[in-house]
Symmetry: C2
Subunit: 243 residues, 2 copies
């Protein structure tokens, strides 16, 4: 059975304006690979409702899961929850269990649960909450869309509570072989090896170190046995080292 | 007149598998902001022809420019040039001027210009070359799609030769105000200020330092005068510092 597939939506003007470097895609990609979910696509979108709605509808129809980061805080530019509700045509409002989480948190920290903060308890109808151990305001899953915070520490914590609830497939295994020859020297035989192993993805990534070009060959797949065979073929062909 | 708009396509299995952290989006975003081109969307795609063709067609129709990174090297997983040619329904083949660039480079470095390396001289009909001062193999522009390398140093160098050829608009100016109060405290008045300045984008980004929450408010727009007025309004409302 093939693995479930996924897409990611990174939401935020700050990424597209060059102010902020996204860190969540790289983290999610690694976690999904270990969990046996194939990340097929990622998109970075501005804080624009129409753009978010269109992407959520398209990607949630195409993939088993969509993971979003960003836009669920208390300020006017946080429009993700409303956009997701609209994408699925469901109402959204303050939910009691989410409000209680915030009440407890702000009572503890001595801050006021004002109207702005209460916005973070607005949850689309039918969603289930994703725990936020860092700052209480929850994420949520609606259908196959999992909505999480943009702050990397909180995204990471939310993903940790979410992933065990999602059925994964076979983890993506990968093995890297370092070959001390430039890509152009090895590309011909490498292509032949890639054709020999159609069930594996074999990628080549050049490096330049101490004045010399070399290639990292990354073998990815789900069958340990096949990966080892491809690794042997590479080492036989190029005398590479499996580090 | 509104600024030209753009999208970016990051092409490569290695980003989606979590092996490699993309660096080119952040660099491109900053350069386009200075050049007066509004980056509206970015997508990360695997090394799959159909996915690349569909995204190139969609985004090149929707935006003034599309910038791609990755997949133009000499190995079997480098399929970007062929995919772009197919997206525009034009033939692709080794072009004399691109071949000469490679011949000169490999003569200098004492490497063989074999069939694999010659693949890097395959250019879609009607494209113009983008100079690669690092390793010779050129990028190209076909219509409004600009195809560049994935290796960050080469991407950067190619973008530097490309950008002066592209007509930009008014640079995106931005100013950051640091407010030593948590987002939830300031969100109400902040929303009112954002409504007062509909021509500006005003974003709020929380921080946590030395046990205290605070907010960076980023004001973005093209009118210095408006940005300064919004900055004054913020400082008046919250006693923030403009660093």
């Amino acid at each position: 059975m093939p693995n479930p597939t996924a897409a990611m939506l990174v939401i935020g003007d700050e990424i597209l304006s060059g102010r902020t470097r996204d860190k969540n895609l790289h983290h999610l990609a690694g976690e999904l690979a270990s969990h046996g979910i194939d990340l097929k696509e990622a998109r970075v979108l501005p804080d624009h409702k129409d753009a978010i709605i269109a992407a959520v509808r398209e990607l949630s129809a195409r993939h088993d899961h969509v993971f979003t980061s960003g836009g669920i805080g208390p300020t006017h530019d946080d429009i993700t929850a409303d956009s997701i509700a609209e994408a699925f045509n469901v109402p959204i409002g303050v939910r009691d269990d989410a409000r209680e989480l915030l009440e407890r948190h702000y009572a503890l920290t001595g801050q006021e649960l004002n109207d702005s903060r209460l916005r973070m308890a607005r949850i689309p109808e039918g969603a289930s909450l994703i725990e936020n151990p860092v700052s209480a305001a929850p994420g949520f899953s609606l259908g196959n869309v999992h909505v999480m915070a943009g702050v990397p520490g909180i995204f990471k914590a939310m993903l940790e509570s979410l992933l065990p609830r999602i059925t994964g497939g076979r983890p993506l295994l990968s093995r890297t072989v370092r070959i001390n020859r430039p890509e152009g020297d090895i590309a011909g035989p490498l292509a032949a090896i890639a054709r020999e192993f159609p069930m594996l993805s074999i990628g080549s990534y050049p490096f330049f170190e101490q004045g010399r070009y070399g290639s990292y060959i990354v073998i990815r797949g789900q069958e340990e046995r096949l990966i080892e065979a491809a690794e042997r073929a590479l080492c036989d062909a190029f005398g590479g080292d499996a580090p």
